[in-house]
Amino acid sequence: MIELKHLEKKFHIGDQVVHALDDVSLRIEQGEYIAVMGPSGSGKSTLMNILGLLDRANSGDYLLDGINASALGEAERTRLRSDKIGFVFQSYHLVPRLTARENVELPMMLSGIPVKQRKKTVDDVLDKLNLMDRAHHSPNQLSGGQRQRVAIGRAIVMKPSILLADEPTGNLDSKSGEEVTKLLESLNDEGITLMIVTHDPTLGARARRQLNMLDGRIV
């Protein structure tokens, strides 16, 4: 469960102050399927970065499963992030020198989970995403849809409670986009909280709850 209370985030661009988030309060229950929509510069990405603990708000509180994330130090936020949050990016952000399997394994490796334990989990994830036969390919040998599936595998391998997807279908053709969306929705059906940031109204309309943002406010 996520609770945001009066979040503020300001950026200084030149001598101008931009309110990326302006008094945002929000409550998201576990297992929700939410689309965040709005024009560029409306604060969608900032909201996403703060929810993903990649960035901090200037003021306001952020409670993640009862933990006040605004009060934590950087190392604790990093641990919380790797335990509870999975990211899917528009441009996949796979590490090019690692194979699909190694990319999926990466978060577990960074968290110091022993090799034996990792193998089983990674196998399960690859199996679930239908990537077993692509496990030893490097990202540039994979299609866009496959790459995004690897990225989703990497996002869920730590069994997070929230999946944050920033334009997950933005670089894909409609067929692969549909596959990726279905995959994300099936993960949501299994109980993960899914939050998608998108420009695409059709994709946004599929979510059970829509948040429209404009000038840093939820409207």
């Binding site: 990649l54 950087e74 990093t78 335990d83 690692l98």
Partner: protein, 407 residues
């Protein structure tokens, strides 16, 4: 992150960015090889020179005419003095109780000729004891006969090379050669012995000292070697010689007596400084390698900004990122410097097979030092890039932006 994972992560980085890895490897290995080879050269030269000086044996004192006021550094090798050291002085020295033998020396260049062939050769006038003190032996014939120092005999022992040049394949024993304007009978040929103490012993003529004095028309001696019976008496005998000669020279202390130890220690000091200077120059090449590492790591950080952002988003802490970059530099420095060390051993072994006179062995302090230096430099110079990488904000790094700290 587990240590085994850090190692495998770095190994992947190194093996999949092959060009960069090879450039770094070569740079570091060259630095280590330079340090080891140059110090090996220095040490080889040192032991070669010391061995040359050692030929005299540590029981030998060298007496030079003239008082040299030296406060450390090399003792004088040539001396001029109004009052020469004479053969009579040598005879008195030889009668001192602690002295086993003396070898007076007179040297100069003279032309030697046989059957129309003329060679200029270093002519040394001395005694039978000279051969014993200098550990010279003959390949054919015999050494100079036992004579009173002031008695001459027209005989000579010649160097190996000189014998070939004057006589070719012919036997020289018993033949008469002309030295200056006197004829000498050849009674011995020296063993091939290389250079020692600045004299090329293959190219000399040794005649009795009295003959040499008349050849050069001099009274004085170039120097006098005196061998003491026991090493422990070296100091006492040295004092006794100075006292004796002072007395004989009308109360004026106008000779210099030096022991081989004194000479060795000053020579050794000079050679040590040389070796260190050479090692210092080599260390500069390590510094250059270090700066190269820094540049390479800087480039790596900017090329891998997105990856760093991703690692941080995936749960890597700043210290994990820093550890990854430092370990990467440390690992490549360790592997490269060890292979550099191996390479320098291969090179010195090959050199040692080909040059028997000079032996090259990198000293242990250079071996350990070069590796420590390589690793320390690598870590030091990659600290800055690693720090830069660890400070990147994940949000901006994921967008490929490098600088701009977030608040």
């Amino acid at each position: 992150m587990l240590w085994s994972d850090i190692v495998s992560f770095i190994t992947q980085v190194l093996s999949r960015h092959r060009f960069r890895t090879i450039v770094l490897w070569v740079a570091i290995a060259i630095g280590v090889v330079a340090v080891n080879l140059l110090t090996a050269l220095g040490e080889g030269a040192k032991s070669f020179v010391l061995e040359e000086f050692n030929v005299l044996g540590r029981n030998t004192l060298i007496i030079l005419p003239g008082k040299k006021e030296t406060t450390g550094g090399m003792p004088p090798l040539t001396g001029e003095s109004p009052r020469p050291l004479t053969l009579e002085d040598a005879q008195f020295v030889s009668r001192l109780s602690g002295v086993k033998s003396v070898a007076p020396i007179v040297v100069g260049n003279l032309e030697a000729s046989y059957a129309g062939k003329i060679r200029e050769a270093l002519t040394i006038g001395s005694s039978r004891d000279f051969f014993i003190i200098r550990q010279l032996s003959v390949a054919q014939g015999k050494i100079l006969p036992e004579l009173d120092l002031d008695k001459g005999e027209a005989v000579c022992v010649i160097g190996n090379q000189l014998q070939k040049e004057l006589f070719g394949q012919q036997s020289s024993l018993g033949q008469r050669i002309r030295i200056g304007d006197t004829r000498f009978r050849v009674i011995g040929v020296l063993k091939k012995g290389g250079t020692s103490f600045g004299f090329d012993m293959d190219d000399v003529i040794i005649v009795p000292v009295a003959n040499a004095q008349s050849l050069f028309n001099v009274d004085g001696l170039f120097r006098l070697f005196a061998e003491v019976r026991v090493y422990q008496q070296l100091g006492t005998v040295k004092r006794a010689i100075v006292d004796l000669l002072t007395e004989r020279h009308e109360g004026e202390e106008d000779v210099t007596v030096i022991s081989q130890d004194a000479m060795l220690s000053s020579v050794q000091e000079i050679l040590d400084i040389l070796t260190i200077a050479v090692a210092g120059i080599a260390a500069i090449s390590m510094l250059v390698a270090g700066i190269l590492i820094m540049n390479m790591m800087m480039i790596t950080v900017s090329q891998r900004v997105k990856e760093i952002g991703l690692l941080k988003a995936m749960g890597a802490t700043s210290s994990t990122v820093r550890t990854l970059f430092l370990c990467e530099a440390g690992l490549i420095a360790t592997v490269s410097s060890l292979s550099g060390l191996l390479l320098s051993h291969v090179i010195t072994s090959i050199a040692n097979l080909n040059f028997t006179d000079l032996q090259f062995h990198p000293p242990w302090w250079a071996q350990v030092g070069s590796i420590v230096l390589a690793v320390v430099f690598a870590l030091l110079f990659s600290w800055l890039p690693a720090q830069k990488a660890s400070k990147l904000s994940p949000v901006e790094a994921l967008q490929g932006k490098q600088q701009k700290e977030t608040t």
